[in-house]
Symmetry: C2
Subunit: 251 residues, 2 copies
């Protein structure tokens, strides 16, 4: 059950000491973030409105449910979860956010945060004041269209998860989750087959509508079947086709 070659944590993004003002131009996340296909001049304009970077230590809130909505947050390094807290205090996880992804889009409609955002590890975000972003979108059509695509992508992603939750069995859910994570790491330039889970079994279960015991049993079963190797949070995908087959088997 132990991995042959346990690995140290893979850093999500190299730390940068560049000035805040040069944020976007110097950022390795350009392709994932807002400034896709912009001219140097346009990126400068965007840089000018990004007021600050902000860091959040592991386990702390970036924002809480009910906070007034003012900014979007682009994850620069680290990872976050968004959580819904019910009256009795139990929390349900609505999403995981990796570097290059945008937090806070849901709050535009309600003008308050609908969920809390908690750092899964020490993290850093770029703060994007939304009213100023809207101004800029009116001036730069390419940025406007890209922003609409980012919001739309969120809708697609959520609907994909709805299909997963509504139609798939536990093993297919977890399998799809792992494949999705692998893709996200790959698109950030990291290994698509070996990575460190940023979240607990309980958090995965909460996100996928399963109990932590079911998640744990499935990890064990997948490992037995030779689909993955897993040691605590270190995960290696051995047989991606096999995982896909589990997702596709619409039973």
């Amino acid at each position: 059950m132990r991995m042959t070659q346990p690995r140290p944590t893979i850093p999500i993004a190299p730390a940068s000491n560049a000035l805040v003002r040069a944020a976007c131009k110097a950022c390795s996340l350009q392709e994932l973030c807002l400034p896709v296909g912009l001219s140097d001049d346009e990126i400068d304009q965007l840089d000018r409105i990004i007021s600050a970077r902000q860091s959040a230590r592991r386990g702390t809130y970036l924002y809480r449910i009910g906070d007034p909505f003012r900014n979007l947050y682009a994850v620069r390094s680290g990872a976050f979860k968004t959580v819904d807290i019910s009256e009795d205090g139990s929390e349900k996880i609505t999403g995981f956010y990796l570097s290059g992804e945008i937090l806070g889009l849901d709050a535009i409609s309600t003008e308050r945060q609908n969920f809390g955002a908690i750092a899964l590890e020490d993290s850093e975000v770029c703060v994007v004041p939304f009213p100023r972003l809207e101004e800029l979108l009116r001036e730069i059509p390419a940025l406007q269209h890209h922003f609409h695509k980012i919001m739309s992508r969120d809708i697609v992603r959520d609907q994909g998860l709805m299909l997963l939750l509504a139609g798939m069995k536990a093993d297919a859910r977890l399998s799809a989750f792992l494949i999705g994570l692998a893709q996200r790491y790959a698109s950030r330039g990291y290994s698509a087959t070996r990575f460190r889970l940023r979240m607990t079994r309980e958090e995965i279960g909460s996100y996928l509508g399963l109990t932590l015991e079911t998640v744990s049993r499935l990890f064990s079963r997948f490992a037995e079947e030779g689909l993955i190797r897993v040691d605590r949070r270190e995960l290696e995908i051995v047989d991606q086709k096999g995982l896909r087959a589990i997702v596709d088997q619409r039973d």
Copy 2:
């Protein structure tokens, strides 16, 4: 099990014979649709880009999976479902859309339709060419912000459904679904306690991640418990508090 006073179908929106050019200004759905808080002049501008209305007969596609994305569609009258078709031909429902709601937002990111849209009854939509809408959003800040809110609202709605699917038992899912429908009808000026379901038990089940038998049994149980009255597609909510209690009981 039979309703005391079965009712004829309630029309979703009064038919209008106004010219296409006067669409938004004359439309009863203004509050739900795009033109919130605009001046007469701005509404005129919006009217000018809405190229046409289009009708879809019950059971026919408004668009299909894979169609190139060009337009958004505002439901003017009637109702739609959006469906994901798997290789084996089975369909999963990702959403229901009533009058005043916008179809096609998910396709902005992929530039193709991710799901098919099928009319649940004879329906009519306003066709909104997206590139022209983006132009207009750059000119009218109030419209721009409202459009962002509409996209954001979709994200919130989807995340709410994710929470429902991930965390709730069958009875809580159906209960939440009925309450949500009631609210949507109410916001359109129709009764919040009596309405006609536009969809089959199977379609409700597909949307909620349940089988049609489970949905049917729950309707029967809710009726026995005095929470609702139901006769085929005619539904009356008798005890809304009771329904809410089922949703809130986080078991």
